[in-house]
């Protein structure tokens, strides 16, 4: 035998180490599955314009919420005209965590918002599929522009309505404002 005992010992331990490194590599790669997504750090410009925390009572029945929350929207819109920065009451990636369906067949369901664009429409490749007679194939989308959620209508037949008025250009969405598409309406909530 031309391989020394010591070499074999080193190789043996090396192999076991390699195997375990492979396992820990996999575990490291799926850490977000084990511990959840990383918490986003607050940016400095967002911290300078803090969002009023009292705007949303957490547990309000969905039906009542739809009427009650049109008021802060009306107040928020004129203030935002000259100010290009992040406005109070607007849905940003920092203060918005979920989309809640408030009316329609799936009223009460919600799904978490990340940072990627949400496409809405009847086609099955949309992130939010709404199958009713009033929805277009590619109806609208929600996207982040400079950390703010924008609602863009994609030339839909029956229109997208934000707090009662039809959306024609990409529009910032206030927190808790009702977005209506076909027979379904939803809100962005913190």
């Amino acid at each position: 035998m031309n391989v020394s005992e010591l070499t074999l010992l080193v190789l043996r331990i090396g192999f076991l180490l390699l195997l375990w490194m492979f396992i820990f590599g996999i575990v490291y790669a799926l850490r977000s599955d084990l511990f959840g997504q990383r918490v986003r750090k607050m940016k400095t410009d967002a911290a300078a314009a803090p969002v009023p925390a009292s705007a949303v009572p957490a547990a309000v029945p969905a039906a009542a919420a739809a009427e009650a929350f049109t008021a802060p929207v009306a107040r928020a819109s004129p203030a935002g005209q000259e100010n290009p920065g992040v406005q109070a009451g607007m849905a940003t990636s920092l203060n918005t965590t979920r989309l809640v369906i408030t009316s329609g067949p799936k009223a009460g369901t919600e799904f978490p918002l990340g940072t990627e664009t949400i496409t809405i429409g009847r086609s099955s490749d949309s992130s939010l599929v709404i199958r009713d007679d009033y929805t277009s194939t590619h109806h609208a989308r929600l996207m982040l522009w400079h950390d703010e959620w924008m609602l863009q209508d994609l030339d839909s037949t029956n229109g997208t309505f934000l707090a009662g008025s039809r959306v024609t250009v990409p529009t910032k969405i206030p927190l808790n404002a009702t977005v209506k598409i076909g027979a379904t309406s939803f809100e962005l909530r913190r």
Binding site: L11, F15, L19, F22, I101, G104, T171
Partner: protein, 461 residues
């Protein structure tokens, strides 16, 4: 809205397309796959250094064949399942490669080479199995297609399960009649493929019928028990597994199918009473079998009284089991090293007892690494089921992952004397073509499921 007029330039509305990161998952998979291939190659090299004392290029080339195959599977994934889970393929590759290295090591001890060598055959079977996985990925573009063939899958499963009982076709090896002879090529164990067909059948059947199974029934002792006429399916599967015990003389297969059915039933209905009843039925049946059937009784004696010299020396006694335990004990914490133990003393060290052989040469650290790989594989399967939105996909993913987990438990538990020893193959590791084909198909189905799960809408109204 007045505010909207501030934004004068209206962006063009290009067609909406799902934003996708550029193959991030596939690149991660490729990275892990290269490490996996390196582990496999170094295992073969270490076997040659340890057992032969020199490097022999022939089998290193065969090992490279496995690497080429898994990388071609990876390339197929890049085209047909871009968002599939990136961990399943590397884990299966490492397990398969370690299995081939161990089988090769035992071939060296038995001085077999060429076509007689089990390692060469195992490599060829791996090629065939990975080819089957590629075909599954190419043919099944959406797992919901399988839902249409629920009852056909059930029929295929039952036929495959009882194929070895057909006279002239079936073959009895060491007591169990679970193989069929395929020409002069060798033997095939159709029960391995049957577990996939039955998982598809159970998932489809339970999605269709779970309401009647879970909603109605009398409440008794705090648990809701089903009506007598809803007991049909569980009794049919129970009768099926009992007939496997009696006619095919195979305890492990029966336990595997029955356990699979119970877990999927529990998942579909969320009722513990089904599990209690099912376990009661199986334990009752097994107890009766252990009293009346000779071979079951022998297995129980070997398990409970293994170290008794009379049992150890008896014909069909606990010799094999105890030799496996001696091997594990010799391995200790770090093992004797590849090619330096004597795993060939145990009968069938390359199939049923491969875990004892690996325990001897890689030690406790190596065995735990292998168990951790199985754990990760099964956990990925459960995760895919958890993330799925349609009930069929959920049930199928969890069922397929659970069947791998249960099979590991039955074999490794048997070898380490936790439960009575029953003949099943260790998934991906053990020598045996049918098992490899079945497990690679399971891996392909999980990959397909994970791809559709990531691609489907997040909410449908």
């Amino acid at each position: 809205m007045s505010k909207a007029s501030a934004l004068t330039a209206r962006p063009t509305t290009e067609p909406v397309r799902r934003l996708r990161l550029p193959q991030k998952l596939r690149n991660l998979e490729l990275f892990l796959l290269l490490i996996a291939c390196f582990i496999n190659a170094s295992a073969v090299v270490l076997v040659q250094l340890g057992a032969l004392g020199e490097l022999d290029p022939t089998l290193v080339l065969l090992g490279a064949g496995l690497s080429v195959l898994v990388i071609s599977l990876h390339v197929v994934l890049r085209f047909v399942a871009r968002d599939a889970d990136p961990f399943i393929l590397p884990i299966a590759t490492v397990l398969n490669g370690i299995g081939i290295a161990m089988i090769y090591r035992i071939d060296i001890a038995d001085k077999e080479s060429g076509w007689a060598s089990a390692a060469v055959r195992q490599t060829v079977w791996s090629a065939l199995a990975i080819f089957c996985a590629i075909v599954v990925l190419l043919v099944i573009r959406n797992h919901r297609v399988l839902f249409r063939y629920t009852y056909i899958a059930g029929l295929v499963g039952v036929v495959l399960l009882f194929l070895p009982l057909v006279p002239g076709l079936g073959q009895e090896i060491s007591g169990a009649r679970v193989w069929i002879r395929v020409g002069s090529f060798g033997t095939f164990q159709p029960g391995e493929i049957a577990k996939i067909a039955l998982a598809v059948f159970f998932a489809g059947y339970l999605v269709r019928n779970r309401d009647s199974l879970s909603m109605v029934g009398k409440k008794f002792l705090g648990a809701r028990f089903p009506r007598f006429r809803d007991l049909g399916p569980i009794l049919v599967v129970w009768a099926l597994s009992m007939s496997v015990i009696i006619f095919q003389r195979d305890l492990g297969t029966a336990l595997l199918y029955f356990g699979l059915f119970l877990v999927m039933l529990y998942l579909a209905t969320g009722r513990l009473s089904w599990v209690i009843m099912g376990l009661g039925l199986f334990l009752g049946g097994a107890l009766v079998a252990s009293q009346t059937l000779n071979y079951v009784n022998g297995r129980f004696t070997n398990w409970l009284d293994a170290l008794n010299p009379a049992v150890y020396n008896a014909d069909g006694g606990s010799f094999q089991l105890v030799q496996g335990l001696f091997g594990l004990a010799k391995g200790g914490l770090l093992g004797t090293g590849w090619g330096q133990g004597r795993p060939e003393i145990t009968p069938v060290p390359q199939s049923d007892y491969i875990i004892a052989s690996l325990g001897e040469e890689l030690g406790l650290a190596g065995i735990f690494a292998i168990l951790a790989l199985y754990l990760l594989f099964v956990a990925r399967g459960f995760r895919i089921g958890f993330a799925g939105q349609d009930d069929f996909g959920k049930l199928l993913a969890v069922g397929l992952a659970f069947v791998v987990a249960l099979q590991c438990f039955i074999v490794i538990g048997g070898v380490t004397r936790v439960i009575p020893l029953t003949g099943l193959t260790t998934p991906f590791l053990a020598a045996g073509g049918s098992s490899l084909v079945a497990n690679w198909i399971i891996a392909a189905l999980l990959l397909r499921l994970s791809d559709t799960v990531r691609n489907q809408p997040r909410l449908v109204v």
